[in-house]
């Protein structure tokens, strides 16, 4: 008897709530913009936040409404932009976008320490005391960027400093924000190649020499030997102004060897 009672009660409850749901679905239905769904399909859907919006869905909604431009998605790059514009039915701009990648501007042969460190093992904590690393601008190597990267595009190399793998990097910019020493910067990749100075030390040459064997000593040779306008010397540190094919790293013969070329193999 009890068995039948419970089946009857639960069954009727199910039928009643089913009817309520069906009615409310038809009455309170919200029309979803099919455009949003389509744009979301074109986006990488990793919610990295590089566009400045909360999620890929939030960005897709705004793009569908025309409130956000189509070129904000850094990980997707030009291809995603093209797809979005196709979906929205707009014109493709003829201007070619230069792809970017993040690059750690510290590539030491060997990092020199003056004391040990036994504190919290994150860069932001280690940066408070310097962690015994003599160079105040060098990579601490605890991997805050590694943890921030959603694409596994950062590795710690043999010298203990972080390094970006260009093939995997999508230029979302999360590592740039995570670095407490601000030594990860975005670099233009012309034809899959980029030259950069692997040092961020703004101390004078002799003081840089004291803390690192392969730091920029601001000798200015790169400014002289490379084509004009490619290198600039600012605050005792050389910086690449225009990256691309015209810089020949071999020809510059940097005395400390801190000018590098990063080559991006074809993505896939």
């Amino acid at each position: 008897m009890t068995l039948y009672q419970s089946i009857a009660v639960l069954g009727s409850l199910g039928v009643v709530s089913g009817i309520v749901l069906a009615v409310s679905f038809s009455r309170l239905k919200v029309e979803d913009d099919p455009l949003v769904e389509e744009i979301l399909q074109a986006l990488p859907d990793i919610n990295c936040g590089a566009c400045g919006y909360a999620s890929c869905h939030a960005y897709a909604e705004l793009v569908a409404e025309g409130k956000a431009p189509a070129d904000m998605c850094a990980p997707g790059g030009p291809e995603t932009e093209e797809k979005i514009i196709r979906i929205k039915g707009g014109d493709l701009s003829s201007e070619k976008k230069i792809p970017k990648n993040a690059v750690v501007h510290c590539k030491p042969q060997k990092r020199i320490f003056s004391a040990g460190y036994c504190g919290i093992e994150t860069c932001s904590a280690a940066n408070i005391s310097g962690a015994g690393l003599l160079c105040r601008f060098g990579c601490l190597g605890f991997g805050d960027c590694l943890a921030a990267c959603p694409f596994d595009a950062i590795k710690i190399n043999s010298s203990g400093a972080a390094e970006v793998i260009p093939e995997k990097c999508t230029a979302c910019g999360l590592c740039v924000r995570s670095c407490p020493r601000d030594i990860i910067l975005m670099v233009d990749y012309n034809d899959g190649r980029a030259s950069y100075v692997g040092c961020s030390n703004t101390q004078e040459g002799k003081n840089t020499r004291k803390v690192c064997g392969s730091g920029c000593i601001a000798c200015g040779l790169c400014v002289k030997r490379a084509p004009e306008g490619t290198f600039v010397l600012e605050d005792s540190l050389a910086r690449v102004e225009h990256s691309g094919g015209e810089i020949n790293v071999e020809e510059i013969k940097c005395p400390t060897g801190c000018i590098y070329e990063s080559v991006e193999k074809t993505k896939n």
Binding site: S114, A115, G116, C118, G119, I120, T122, S124, A125, A126, N127, I128, S129, G130, A131, G132, L134, R136, F137, P180, T202, Q203, E204, K206, N207, V211, S236
Partner: protein, 423 residues
């Protein structure tokens, strides 16, 4: 009854050690940024000969301080060098000259100065808060709101440090005079001198000196760490509470350190700029702790040479600049003494085992700001800095009480320091 911890003070011998002068060092490193605010601007050039007490860097902007040479010598270098605490900044390196001329007249002594003259003189002398924060004093005594109580902080609650205590004992008159000048410049009606009850000699000497002034009162406070933190001090003595994110002047109080008062008295009545300070050299590893009068910028290794031999090797010792609770751990001994360095502490290396939290709640009982470090730590472990901020992380003054009390030896304070940066 204050909230905090009562660590072993270890001041028993150092507090009876008279202040000693040190020989002039071979070289001094004077950083342009040893105060809160913009770094000062160097006005000398390489190879210039400088006198003792000569202005070598002038303040840049409103919140900045002047910098003077602490020895007579030749400017060897002006460049960006490593500073303690993982920073890098511009510094002037001065090499000693063989003949050290006697300081004759730095600036003209003022006999009966008015408030404006005092403020100008303090700015010219480059005086900053010498307790640790390094807030420029000439900015502090011109608060945007009227102030009715001036406070002399003679607590020195950090273990091992006795510099302020010796200053108050030996220069009791000058300290009170300097404090009276600061009080006059600020326009405060009342002056309070707060001293912890474990310094009977200093209390006696200061009371004796303060007897001449009617409006200065000496208050004896309970010995507890961190009694010397200005928010604690003000609440415990006047009953006024400083809301989070506000400064003492918001409740009508300014707080000055004892060494700062001495520097002010010397600047006004003797015309001497801030070129030296009293530093306690102490710690577990030093059998004979001492108090030295050290020229600013003297390398730490040089100072320690007079106390212990063979300390140049790092790794065998942990050396702290400042007190053991809030000081900076040094990674090299080549850094110069700052205007804010009250001590050099040499300890045995110490490793924290960092076991998981056992939720004992000792950190909650001990936090002087009434925070819940255990809860903050829970958020930290999930890297949820937003919730930490909601739980009052900004109020944390990094005193280290929670880390001290933690039976699991979790580095709570370090974690909160990191979280504050990531907010």
């Amino acid at each position: 009854m204050g909230i905090g911890i009562k660590p072993l003070t270890n001041k028993e011998t150092a507090r009876f050690e008279p202040i000693q002068n040190l020989p002039v060092p071979e070289e001094v490193i004077l950083y342009t940024s040893q105060h809160i605010g913009a770094p000062s601007e160097v006005i000398v050039e390489k190879k210039d000969t400088v006198r003792k007490g000569q202005l070598i860097a002038s303040p840049k902007g409103g919140c900045s301080a002047a910098l003077h040479s602490s020895i007579a010598g030749v400017v060897r270098d002006i460049s960006k060098v490593n500073m303690c605490g993982g920073r890098s900044g511009k510094a002037v390196t001065i090499k000693k000259e063989k003949v050290q001329e006697q300081e004759k007249d730095f600036m003209k002594p003022l006999s009966s100065p008015d408030a404006d003259k005092i403020i100008k003189r303090i700015a010219d002398a480059g005086i900053v808060g010498m307790g640790g924060a390094g807030f420029p004093t000439h900015v502090k005594i011109v608060p945007p709101k009227p102030v009715d109580i001036a406070f002399l902080n003679g607590c020195e609650c950090e273990p091992f440090l006795t510099a302020d205590e010796r200053v108050m004992t030996e220069y009791n008159k000058k300290v009170v005079e300097g404090f009276a000048l600061l009080k006059k410049a600020t326009g405060a009606e009342k002056g309070i001198i707060g001293i912890e009850d474990d310094k009977p000699v200093a209390i006696e000497k200061i009371t004796e000196a303060a007897a001449a002034c009617d409006d200065i009162e000496v208050k004896i406070l309970e010995k507890i760490y961190p009694q010397g933190y200005e928010k604690m001090l003000i609440t415990n003595t006047t009953g006024r509470t400083i809301p989070p994110g506000k400064l003492p002047f918001d409740v009508g109080v300014t707080v000055h350190n004892a060494s700062t008062c001495l520097a002010v008295a010397e600047a006004v009545f003797e015309g001497k700029p801030l070129i030296e300070r009293v530093v306690t050299v102490s710690g577990e590893c030093l059998p004979h702790p001492v108090n030295y009068r050290v020229p600013l910028g003297m390398p730490v290794s040089e100072v320690l040479r007079y106390s212990i031999s063979g300390i140049s090797k790092m790794g065998e010792f942990d050396v702290y600049m400042g007190g053991p609770m809030m000081g900076v751990s040094l990674d090299s001994l080549d850094y110069g003494i700052l205007k804010t360095t009250s001590g050099i502490i040499v300890q045995r290396p110490f490793f924290r085992k960092q076991a998981p939290c056992v939720k004992c709640g000792r950190c909650v009982d001990t936090c002087p700001m009434g925070l819940c470090p255990q809860r903050l730590n829970m958020f930290y472990e999930g890297r949820d800095f937003g919730s930490m901020s909601e739980a009052g992380l900004e109020n944390c003054m990094e005193c280290g009480c929670c880390s001290y009390e933690c039976p699991s030896e979790i580095c709570l304070t370090e974690r909160f320091k990191e979280a504050k940066i990531n907010l």
